[in-house]
């Protein structure tokens, strides 16, 4: 079959990618990259751990799902009646994996050879679920182990404790893998229900970057994919207050130096607004406390932050927050100072020299991610669901002004709506 391909270009980067709306309902985004030796493919759905309450055309009313089911489904999808997808990939040499995030699930592989075979395996196993009571029961042991592993991880706990302090109702505060108790409720039937609801091709995307033949992708899609039914889904809207649950939360775990995560909870917009806004927020947070700022230097010289200090804008379908993390013997002091600085910036704006540094850093970050095969496929994947063009991100960074950054920050954040999470030895 021949398809209409839309070419999307970035003058700034000298790069391009192609978009195909496949008759099955799947959107396919492809970025061939000259000179590279590997291909990286991601096939996934706008379904993640936060989808815990949904209404479909069939059932007509909101149904509550066990916590951790999206992740459980991801594990089980690798199996079929004959053999696991890993065994199939073994023949092609591809390095395959999958992950479940808050608002998406992705199945992926990287390869430098036998791309045609691997892309077919990817499309095939994800579109052919096979669950039985026996195979579902068997997975509880392995996922139980995974949950325990996260329970011991200070990095993981400090983050989820923070989310619990920031969010009252938003399911983003729920652990992605669920709990040993919640996963015990999962049955084969329930997995099929979730699968049939969310793994509709209209709710999915395939992205490929690097060295590959675009025809091979389309040929595999023609061969494997069957037209999907219309997609209808309503997600329960969570009525999340702007205020946080509590400003402080701590837990004791075996760590050497106390670890902290500080979260500034933002007002959510649409998914696209969160996504595009997050680029401006990245510039804001660099101007707030990156290593060229006065406040960073003061905290560093006082010995209460060290080189582990870092920042992140955490955003998704209906949540956005600024996270600052690191190690500190006086995390309360770090929190107080950063909150003060946050207020100061909102009130007085960003000095021009500081802004230039912050903007250039963010610009450089997006520029560098465009020279990695994994970076490009991931960016295409992440931009698809909010409906944003990947190249818009670097343009937003390049076109930002101190005023636009502050205006956005003022409308989104209130420093009081924040929390500190600490892991102490």
């Amino acid at each position: 079959m021949s398809y209409q391909m839309t070419k999307i270009e970035s003058k700034r980067l000298g790069d391009c990618y192609y978009k195909v709306e496949h008759p099955s309902g799947l959107t396919i985004l492809m970025a061939p990259m000259e000179g590279f030796s590997t291909a990286y493919a991601m096939f996934g759905t706008a379904y993640g751990s936060i989808d815990t309450c949904i209404k479909t055309a069939e059932n007509g009313e909101f149904v509550k799902l066990p916590e951790g089911i999206a992740h459980y489904l991801e594990h089980k999808l690798f199996e079929s009646e004959e053999c696991s997808a890993f065994e199939r990939y073994a023949k092609t040499g591809a390095n395959a994996n999958a992950f479940t995030a808050f608002d998406r699930t992705a199945y992926l592989f990287a390869c430098s050879d036998k791309f045609e075979e691997s892309i077919e395996i990817l499309l095939d196993f994800v579109t052919h679920p096979y669950f039985t009571p026996e195979t579902v029961a068997k997975e509880q042991g392995i996922i139980g182990q995974e949950i325990r592993m996260y329970d011991d991880s200070a990095d993981w706990r400090v983050l989820f404790n923070l989310l619990g302090a920031l969010y009252h109702k938003n399911p983003v505060k729920i652990d992605i893998a669920g709990t040993v108790e919640s996963i015990a409720e999962i049955t084969a039937d329930l997995l099929y229900d979730c699968y049939n609801t969310f793994y509709n091709l209209h709710n999915m995307v395939l992205t490929v970057a690097g060295k590959f033949d675009m025809d091979a992708v389309l040929k595999a899609a023609d061969k494997v994919l069957k037209p999907a039914e219309d997609f209808y889904l309503e997600r329960a809207v969570c009525d999340e207050p702007e205020e946080v649950v509590e400003n402080y939360v701590e837990q004791h775990l075996p760590v050497s130096v106390p670890m902290f995560n500080i979260g500034f909870k933002g007002k959510t917009g649409t998914e696209a607004e969160n996504f595009c806004g997050s680029i401006l927020d990245e510039i804001f947070v660099e101007a707030l406390c990156d290593d060229f700022t006065k406040v960073y230097r003061e905290l560093y010289d006082e010995g209460i932050i060290n080189a582990t200090f870092g920042s992140e804008v955490f955003c998704g379908r209906d949540y956005i927050s600024i996270f600052l993390s690191g190690e500190s013997r006086e995390p309360e002091k770090v929190y107080a100072r950063l909150k003060e600085e946050f207020e100061h910036l909102l009130e007085h704006g960003i000095p021009e020299d500081v802004f230039a540094c912050a903007q250039r850093s963010v610009y450089g970050h997006y520029m560098r991610s465009s020279e990695r095969v994994t970076g490009v496929a991931t960016s295409l994947f992440n931009c698809h669901f909010p409906g944003v063009d990947m190249y818009e991100l670097i343009d937003i960074a390049a076109n930002a002004t101190p005023e636009s950054v502050i205006e956005r920050a003022k409308a989104t954040y209130h420093p009081e709506n924040s929390a500190l999470s600490v892991i102490k030895p």
């Binding site: 060229f292 230097r297 060290n306 020279e371």
Partner: protein, 426 residues
């Protein structure tokens, strides 16, 4: 395709290495000081990159330095210490936007090369030749935190403990960041001396990868290095021990998942072929998602969430580590050993074997796709005195036979078992 490595001597015991590749948009330059790993010097040497990262004569203020980097489109300046076999490597690197993407048309390569060379060779020393007192104090504290922070990540912690058991009295056992007591004993005097000695006696390896003009960087380093007083010391190969008594130990910690680490000595490989046999063995045994350990210990028996093996070629050990429920320890340990015995007996199919070699070839095919992996690939070849291209390496891997792998598995001798279990910290 990975670009070819160009290498030449640019000073006494100093080398410029570069791989030119136009597909990238940024360049990466690393300056490495390679020195024998010695327990007495490991800690003070480990502090050197951290104080160097604080500034230099041309840019003495830490905040101004970071500002300069941010203006270079968020250039990343990293300083760290690594160990590779019997060598300690002090590495300072800078990754930055190539000239073509600099909005202001700046000459990025030369600026970055100068800055990197200033950072390593022209630090901000006072009239006594010492580093600023505040940098010494803060970075020493950070070094101590880093040494102790292995506790934060239980998987790495358990592997470190197991390696410590095996290499108690060998150079391989020296810890990457050194020791807390030694860190506390570092003075302004001893730190400055360590830096001077490193600059004078270590092998200097400059590595450039990216689309930019390597020649202009080379000129900067050649000039700077020629002005140094250099007396590189001779590097000796570290002996690899083939056998040692089994050491077993366990530790309690307030955790919910146990970590079991088993280390097998493979002995010193006499040939590259032997070394490659051990690599294929490790991949077949526990290096892929269809390996013996993954398919049996995890999938079939549900004994653990992960069970991996990897072969450390520089020290000749095979490391197996897994996360298990406390009560599964005996069963897991037994099964891990049994699976290795089965490999030695040849209990694997031609298909499993071919697929394993295919997986290794596949990952070798990706080496040229990031600046970081290009550098990592060639730098380990350079440190091991055995530079090959990934293509050559893939060919060598394809020559390994089933029998080679069985023989390799027979050589594996269990040398240490470490188990991290639950309960109160002892």
């Amino acid at each position: 395709m990975l670009g070819t490595l160009n290498r030449k001597e640019i000073g006494k015991g100093a080398y410029m290495n570069f791989v030119n590749d136009k597909k990238f948009k940024s360049d990466r330059i690393s300056l490495c000081l390679v020195t024998p790993l010695e327990k007495e010097k490991a800690t003070v040497n480990a502090l050197v990159p951290f104080v160097l990262r604080k500034g230099c004569k041309s840019c003495p203020d830490f905040t101004m330095l970071n500002k300069k980097l941010a203006e270079m489109y968020g250039a990343i300046l990293d300083a760290d210490v690594a160990k590779h076999g019997g060598s300690q490597i002090i590495e300072v690197s800078i990754q930055f936007t190539d000239d073509r993407f600099a909005i202001g048309g700046e000459n990025m390569v030369e600026t970055a090369a100068k800055l990197l060379s200033d950072i390593v060779f022209e630090p901000n020393l006072d009239e006594n030749g010492h580093f600023p007192e505040i940098d010494l104090e803060l970075e020493r504290e950070y070094l101590i935190d880093t040494i102790e922070s292995d506790l934060n990540e239980k998987r790495g912690y358990a592997i470190g403990k197991a390696l410590g058991l095996v290499f108690e009295n060998e150079p391989f056992g020296v810890k990457r960041y050194g020791y807390v007591d030694d860190a506390k004993a570092i003075t302004a005097e001893s730190l400055a001396k360590a830096w001077r000695e490193l600059v004078k006696t270590s092998r200097i390896e400059v590595f450039f990868a990216g689309p930019g003009d390597a020649a202009s960087a080379e000129k900067v380093f050649e000039e700077r290095i020629s002005a140094l007083e250099r007396e590189p010391i001779e590097e000796k190969e570290t002996e690899i021990v083939a056998y040692s008594e089994l050491k077993e130990t366990e530790e309690s910690m307030d955790i919910v998942q146990g970590k079991l680490v088993m280390i097998f000595r493979m002995g010193a490989p006499k040939t590259e072929h032997e070394k490659n046999s051990a690599r294929v063995l490790s991949a077949l045994y526990g290096g892929t998602a269809f390996s013996k350990l993954f398919m049996n210990v995890r999938e079939k028996m549900s004994l653990c969430y992960y069970a991996d093996s990897h072969f450390e070629r520089s020290s000749g050990v095979l490391i197996v580590d897994c996360g298990i429920e406390f009560e599964n320890r005996e069963a897991a340990q037994k099964e891990i050993i049994r699976q290795l015995e089965l490999v030695a007996e040849g209990d694997f199919t031609d298909e499993e074997f071919e697929n394993t070699e295919g997986a290794i070839a596949n990952s070798l095919g990706s080496v040229g796709d990031t600046l970081y992996s290009v550098e990592g690939w060639y730098m380990s070849g350079i440190v091991e005195n055995n530079v090959v291209t990934p293509e050559e390496d893939a060919k060598a891997i394809a020559e390994i036979t089933k029998e080679d792998v069985m023989k390799s598995a027979e050589k594996a001798k269990l040398a240490a078992v470490f188990f991290l279990k639950g309960g109160e910290n002892a």
